[in-house]
């Protein structure tokens, strides 16, 4: 069980935007059986993405996939599901819909215009885009252009 704050909170926490779980910058991380309560102020969220990817010296190109199932996210006290951070590309694969509310094999994604396909819904309050289980969300990377192309 992950709790954002209790009645015994303090000012430093109230001005922060805490998160329950920070996901890794690698593939194959999975999470299940976790309950989230009291993340409903100042952009607090159940998840934050891509641990330390903001760091200049060591980061990742992003777009890694996190798998989750059997989550309990308290609707009354957890507004935002995901607080996306640099590089804003993490993919959540929700095996049973307990993260997205869109049923088995659904997806939670960062907001990018090209991801707003008919199977997907922009969910600003939740922190991203949700897609149903009729499609897949996959990472594709384009790289190794000649140096004169990328300057």
């Amino acid at each position: 069980m992950v709790v954002g704050k209790t009645e015994n909170t303090e000012e430093a926490l109230d001005v922060a935007s805490p998160v329950g779980v920070i996901t890794p910058r690698t593939e194959l991380f999975s999470l299940s059986g976790v309950k989230f309560f009291n993340y409903n102020w100042n952009g607090a969220a159940a998840f934050k993405t891509c641990s330390h990817c903001f760091h200049d010296a060591a980061t990742d190109s992003g777009g890694r996939t996190i798998t989750s199932w059997d989550l309990h996210i308290d609707e009354a006290t957890v507004t935002r599901r995901v607080q996306y951070s640099t590089p804003f590309r993490t993919i959540f694969f929700d095996k049973d819909g307990t993260l997205t509310g869109k049923g088995a094999n659904s997806w939670f994604l960062p907001y990018w215009k090209h991801l707003l396909q008919p199977e997907c819904t922009q969910e600003d309050a939740l922190g991203g885009i949700t897609c149903d289980g009729t499609v897949e969300a996959r990472r594709v990377a384009f790289h190794s252009m000649p140096s004169n192309f990328i300057g």
Partner: protein, 131 residues
């Protein structure tokens, strides 16, 4: 996404499309890595309108054979002697994918890299004039 008006009108309104920042960092470095939704077609081009001479496309290790297909459309503006797509990054064991495999093969037989080259020179020139 379709929009009324010219290509220039479309491109000048950034609400119509996603702009993906270039990333210098790792795995892979000097790359654009992005999520895409399968079963759709995406038109990609670079803001500078430069053509790339070589490019590698890294597909997620999470891809499985039962995934839906995804089409990527790239333009080229400068003349090209050939447009080649090769598996395995063009390295050892890489196979050159023949042109028109998207139209000559059954969809169930498609593999990553199957392609169709459309050499629409006039449209390309008109496209350049828009800028």
């Amino acid at each position: 996404m379709e929009s009324a008006g010219t290509i220039k009108d479309y491109l000048q309104d950034e609400i119509n499309y996603a702009i993906v920042p270039f990333k210098v960092k790792q795995l892979p470095s000097n790359a654009w890595a992005m999520p895409f939704i399968t079963n759709h077609r995406y038109r990609l081009h670079w803001e500078s309108v430069l053509d790339f001479a070589d490019m590698k496309v890294e597909i997620s290790e999470r891809w499985v054979p039962t995934d839906h297909n995804m089409h990527l459309v790239f333009n080229f503006t400068e003349k090209r002697e050939a447009v080649n797509i090769t598996s395995n990054y063009g390295g050892a064991g890489g196979v050159l994918v023949a042109n028109n495999t998207l139209s000559t093969k059954n969809e169930v037989d498609w593999i990553p890299g199957d392609m169709q080259l459309r050499n629409t020179t006039i449209e390309g020139e008109e496209y350049k004039k828009e800028f």
